[in-house]
Each structure stands twice: as structure tokens, then as C-alpha cells.
């Protein structure tokens, strides 16, 4: 019997598919289920001038601190339990992200939908009257061809398609072909990210065989189909220090250390980098394990 192609690859093989100046969408939501192992691999690479599209958390903070971002498209950047992301704040206040596009968070979804549906734009009310349209004069309005009940022709925000060169997402389980399930409370928008992208790479906690995906999991949790995916990487604890419910929750202790270092002196940040970010993913996970042992 013939089988669909295998797409299992390594973290480095994913990063080899990326190039300078690309537009990269990062799945998850704020400090939740972010493909952090892939983000860390970008930090280690020579990649530069990236356009990052993200409902942001530490993914944006880390890439901003490393000077990887030429343009950022976001609706917020937050660590939730610690509302303000210090590396993002610092980058904005120092003016080190050359271009920023701040969306409303629902409008961001509308832009991904437009890209996923190969439309130039989709209309929404979000943005109208706000400084989202003032600070982004490239975002225009469109007038409805249909009269409303009062005979008025409403003008709506024409959210441009958020087309991505590459999407990076992290799910709980996947097979080697790219079918993947989320086991936590929320799919976030990972299905939209992969459909809005020219290429999509999926990291996961565990690769299982296809039958294993639904053995104890309702089929409705199969969020992503292999036809949307170009590569699959197994990265256990790969969303750390964001949530990957039910495999693990956010590492709040680690997040506090990250925030302290990012908010501190250059030396404090350098020490954090040296301890956690100077090696490969295995070195990172070993450093995190040692950190957790210290904390226990």
C-alpha cells in the first residue's frame, strides 16, 4: 500500500529553509503554545531582516532583542502573568524595530483569513475610528456595495491579506506526514497560520503514527492536515517556557528569570543568554532542567 510522504526533519533543517527578509508567521497566542524551539533556532542562526507576524509573547521579545526583526506585525505582545514583555518594550522604546504594524487582535485574524483564502483583503469593523488606521495609512477602507437598513453604505476596514512566506507552529501530537492535534484548551489560530503561508513547519511534543493521533483523542482535535505542512519536527518541551497544555503549563519561575534578565543590565541579559541561549536546543533543555532542579 502506498503511503503519503514522510516530512520528519530536524530543527536545523527547518531553519535551512528560511532566508533573510522572509515574512514568518509564528503560531500560538502570547505566552501560549509557541514554537519556541524553532524560535530559538532562528536566534542561533545568521538570519536577519525578518518580518515577524505574531500575536506576540516571548517569541517576539527574544527575536527583537537579538535584532532579527526588520518589521513586526502584532496586536499585542504580552506574557500574561507578567503583562508587559520587557524585550519588546525595550526594542520599541529604543527604536530598534525599524517598522511596526499594530493591528487590533480580531483584525489580525481577518488578515490571516484573507491570506488563507487567497483574497486581497477582507472587511471588518475593527480599526475604524482608532489609531490603527492612523498609524498604518497603508490600511484602507472599503465601502459596502449594499445599503444597510437605513440606506447607508457603510465604510469598513479592508484588512489586507497577511500573506506569510513561512508559518511556524507547535502542536501536541503529529504524525510524520504533518497531520496534527492540539490537546489543550484552545486551537489558537495555527490552522490559519499554516494556510496563510507558502510553507509551513510544525514542531510537536511527540510524533506518533497516524492511527495514534485519534486513538484516545476526538477527531475534532485534528486541527492541521498534512496537505498544509512541509516539515515536522519532534521537539519535546519545545514550547518552553510558554504553555503546552496538557503536556505542561507555562514555566512561571523561568519566565520570571527571563523577565528579570531582560529588564536588567546588559550584563544580566548576557548572563541569561550565556546560560540558556548559547547552545543548541539540547543544551537549552539541559540548562532548563538544571534550573528547575535548583528551584525544586
Amino acid at each position: 500500500m502506498s503511503k503519503p510522504r514522510e516530512k520528519v526533519m530536524t530543527i536545523d533543517e527547518v531553519v535551512a529553509q528560511l532566508s533573510d527578509g522572509m515574512t514568518i508567521g509564528i503560531g500560538g497566542w502570547g505566552p501560549r503554545r509557541k514554537p519556541m524551539a524553532l524560535v530559538r533556532a532562528i536566534l542561533r542562526s545568521d538570519l536577519k531582516d525578518l518580518t515577524i507576524v505574531s500575536w506576540g509573547g516571548a517569541d517576539v521579545g527574544l527575536l527583537a532583542r537579538a535584532g532579527k526583526i526588520r518589521k513586526l506585525v502584532y496586536a499585542f505582545v504580552s506574557l500574561d502573568s507578567i503583562p508587559l514583555e520587557p524585550n519588546f518594550q525595550r526594542a520599541r522604546q529604543n527604536g530598534t524595530i525599524p517598522e511596526v504594524v499594530e493591528f487590533d487582535e480580531g483584525m489580525f485574524q481577518t488578515g490571516l483569513y484573507a491570506a488563507a483564502q487567497r483574497l486581497p483583503f477582507l472587511p471588518t469593523r475593527a480599526g475604524l475610528g482608532s489609531d490603527v488606521l492612523v498609524n498604518n495609512p497603508q490600511i484602507l477602507t472599503v465601502t459596502s456595495p449594499y445599503a444597510d437598513a437605513d440606506g447607508a453604505f457603510e465604510s469598513l476596514t479592508a484588512v489586507p491579506a497577511l500573506r506569510l512566506d513561512v508559518a511556524l507552529v507547535h502542536l501536541n501530537r503529529a504524525d510524520g506526514h504533518g497531520n496534527a492535534t492540539y490537546l489543550g484548551p484552545d486551537p489558537y489560530f495555527d490552522d490559519l497560520f499554516v494556510q496563510a503561508a507558502g510553507k509551513a513547519f510544525l514542531s510537536c511534543e511527540q510524533i506518533v503514527d497516524t492511527a495514534g493521533l485519534t486513538i484516545d483523542t476526538p477527531v475534532q482535535r485534528l486541527l492541521i492536515s498534512r496537505m498544509m505542512v512541509d516539515g515536522v519536527v519532534e521537539t519535546p518541551n519545545g514550547a518552553h517556557f510558554t504553555t503546552c497544555t496538557p503536556d505542561y503549563e507555562r514555566d512561571e519561575k523561568f519566565q520570571k528569570v527571563y523577565v528579570a534578565a531582560a529588564s536588567g543590565s546588559d550584563d544580566e541579559w548576557a548572563a541569561f543568554e550565556a546560560r540558556f541561549l548559547s547552545g543548541d536546543e539540547a543544551a537549552y533543555q539541559a540548562a532548563v532542567a538544571a534550573f528547575n532542579q535548583e528551584q525544586a
Binding site: R92, G129, D131, V134, A152
Partner: protein, 251 residues
Amino acid sequence: MSEFTRAEVCAAAIADAFKDDGEIFASPMGMLPMLGVRLAKLTSNPDLVISDGESLFLAGTPPLFAKADVVEGWIPFRRVFDVVAYGKRHVMMGATQVDRHGNQNISAIGDFARPTRQMLGSRGAPGNTVNNRTSYWVPKHGIRVFVEQVDVVSGVGPARAKAAGPGASKYNDIHRIVSNLGVFDVHGPGDTVRLLSVHPGVSVDEVVAATGFALAVDGEVPVTREPTETELMIIRNVLDPKNLRDREVPS
């Protein structure tokens, strides 16, 4: 020594902001709004639909930050956006700044191109304010929060919504601003912020002095109602036995 605290007055005032909403999704952002919404659900408006702030509609009304007992629905972020557009929602957000025209800022302080202080980003404020009823909670009323003009318009007040046309104004509904000093709406002259009541022990002059713009004040300003015995019992024994409310609004 009064028999109730300022935080308890605020919780009751927030509850009142939701009492006439009927069967809609009440979305409180932050601790006092969550307390107020749950108080409303247990008293004036049992039809409110509430969530755990994550992805579940809760059938019961658990204490602050407690896990769900019975679940009555699923509300992941994508469905929150659906409900925003559907309109059956009342969100109470925070505000780094609110201005005379009821515009709100949670994005950045200073020039947007190079802010002196980067905040969260606009989050859902632009979409909320042109789609569903929106209120604001300000735990520390002062001239740095209540400013003549916000630095970045995240949440859209009625005057700007009207200027942007019917697409923006049709569902714009800025309902209440509740602060630690008083309760406000945006129905002053020219769609400006108006003082509706001052909390017990607060004078109108005090509120005016703590507000960085000309506040609309119509004649005699009433005092915000005191929380009832039942409300105090629910707040103290059921919803917030650890008294988290006093940390946000010290007495």
C-alpha cells in the same frame, strides 16, 4: 470605620454596569471587573454568560481564580472574535489613558513611532469598541490616566466613531467608566465624559481635581450606592474570601 470598603463599592458599581445587559457574554479584564461581573451574575443579572478568561463558559459562578465546577460552553479566542462581531458581549477593559471624548489607550505612551513607554499594544480595543458594549475600569484615578487626549487611540469613543461613519458608530456603545473615585458615562456635551456619581466619602471637587480634562458635571451629583448586605456577604464569603480586592483598591 465604615462598614464597607472602597473596593466593595467599586465591585457593586461594576456589577451595576452589567445589570441591564440581559443574556450576553460578560468579559471582564482584570480582577475587580471579574469580581463585579460575578457579583452581578449572583444578584442582578443571573442570565450573564461568563468565562474562565481562557476557553470555557462557566455554568456556575466560582470565586476569583477558582477552577470551573460545571462548564456550559467553549469559547476559544477565535470564538471570542465571533461573539465580538455578533455583538452579544459587554467587555470591561483597563485603560492606561482615557480622554475627554472617551477614547482609551492601552497601546503606548508618547509618540507611537518611538514611545516613551510601550504598553501591551491595542489588543482587542479597536474591534471591541465598534462592535459591542464596552466599559472601562480605572483602579487609580488621576491626571495621568484621565487626559485631554490619549496618545494612541486603541478604544474608540463616540465622537471618533461618528466621524468614522456608520460602519464605526452603529454598534459603538461606551457604557460606563468606573474608577476608584466615581462612575462616569460619555453622554456629556459633545459626547464627552460625564460624572454620574461619586463614591461614598469622595467629593466632586476631588474627582474634578484628579481628572486632567474638563469633566462634564450635571447639577447635583449623587453618591454611588452602597453595597447591600447580600452583596457584601457574597463578595466577602463567596467570591473573594482572600480579599484580593483590597490590593487593587486600598481602603
